[in-house]
Symmetry: C2
Subunit: 233 residues, 2 copies
């Protein structure tokens, strides 16, 4: 399948690398192709620059947001949640029309320091915001509740643990589910919460996620919904 | 121990019943003692009125918010989250001074229909709001992420699953932890998230909780944080 992954950060790299490994034709979308290759500095976390990563992933095309979206059947939003609306406008309404947009971003605002707040929450969500701005695109929110490494390697956390799906179109959620299963997620552990408004719930999980990462000192954990039985009588 | 449980709804009844069963001296606090006994109607969910429940729990004292708080060493806020600030003002600053307040409430606002929104969230929480209003009280937020029945019967959900603690005072959190262990919670499954600002994370879990209840059709489930290992290299 032809996929576009918007965003060249760690999430975009991880997802595009896995998709290419699975045999898909992947185009990474970015704001300015020249600029992303020109940057030779490590980032604030000491990670190698994009170009060093791409040297080992030359099968992955790199293009503008617009060209990447135009080339693909399914588009993944892996941009920073603060910049997602703008990035998607650059990707373009026509290039996303009638396509699935898998939105893995979170509206985390680090501009006031740690812990981050959410720039949209409670009676709204980034997933809904995107769906409203792109009514002809089939937005499916998922993967936003786990770390990038875990997204494509669920066995980094042992046993059963869950992912969530939010979206208005049942067949688009089914296609995303199949993609997640191809990443190694167990079908039974993917919970369909309902329409795109349920993205409020998973995006608002992030404040707890951030605190748990602080407590555990690493991001390799996940939520498992353990279900019991109503008491008798 | 002498405890006050503020709120005569299902959460207050469940918690006070369990505390009395464990041998504590429990006073239920309410706005108007006469009124709560005078009400003989079943509620919107078909549950029996307070007086019918109290007929089987006569060892539990019933008093005003103020008298209940004055009588107790530990106070539990089990009032409706929309009314908690007002109920605690009635309980009184002097009656809560230097005491532990275990806050199990959530700021759920059902006034705009389903699903509820949160009347305080993101950069604030009800737990913090209470701590700021009552600076001489030791607020510990916990139990707000599970259904009332599960609060006192954790084995209704099988295996391991978690509760969270948020609060500024370590020894108060330790006392609450011991109370939770006496309810049947495993010590290792009680996660101390840090200070009271971490209540933002657990209160914002409620929007997801409400949607999961919709999917599962019952509230007997809980979150288990499954922890893996960071990948090598």
């Amino acid at each position: 399948m032809k996929l576009a992954v918007l965003g060249t950060g760690i999430v975009g790299q991880t997802l595009s690398g896995k998709l290419a490994e699975l045999g898909h034709e992947v185009t990474l979308g970015t704001r300015d192709v020249g600029k992303v290759f020109a940057n030779k500095a490590t980032d604030q976390y000491g990670r190698a620059p994009f170009s060093a990563w791409h040297d080992h992933h030359q099968e992955i095309h790199v293009a503008t947001f617009s060209d990447a979206a135009a080339s693909a059947e399914i588009i993944v939003n892996a941009t920073n949640g603060m910049a997602s609306m703008n990035a998607l406008e650059h990707a373009g309404h026509a290039n996303m029309k009638n396509k699935i947009l898998l939105d893995v971003s979170n509206p985390l605002d680090f501009s006031h320091g740690m812990p981050p707040s959410l720039w949209v929450s409670n009676t709204n969500s980034l997933g809904e915001q995107i769906q409203r701005a792109f009514p002809d695109t089939k937005v499916v929110k998922s993967l936003n509740t786990v770390n990038a490494g875990l997204m494509v390697s669920p066995s980094l956390v042992p046993g059963d643990h869950n992912l969530f799906l939010s979206g208005n179109d049942a067949s688009s959620k089914q296609k995303v589910r199949e993609l997640l299963v191809s990443f190694g997620w167990k079908d039974k552990n993917i919970i369909d919460l309902g329409d795109i408004t349920t993205a409020r719930g998973t995006e608002q999980l992030l404040p707890l996620w951030v605190r748990l990462m602080g407590t555990l000192q690493h991001p390799y954990f996940n939520f498992h919904i353990v279900v019991g039985n109503p008491p008798k009588g």
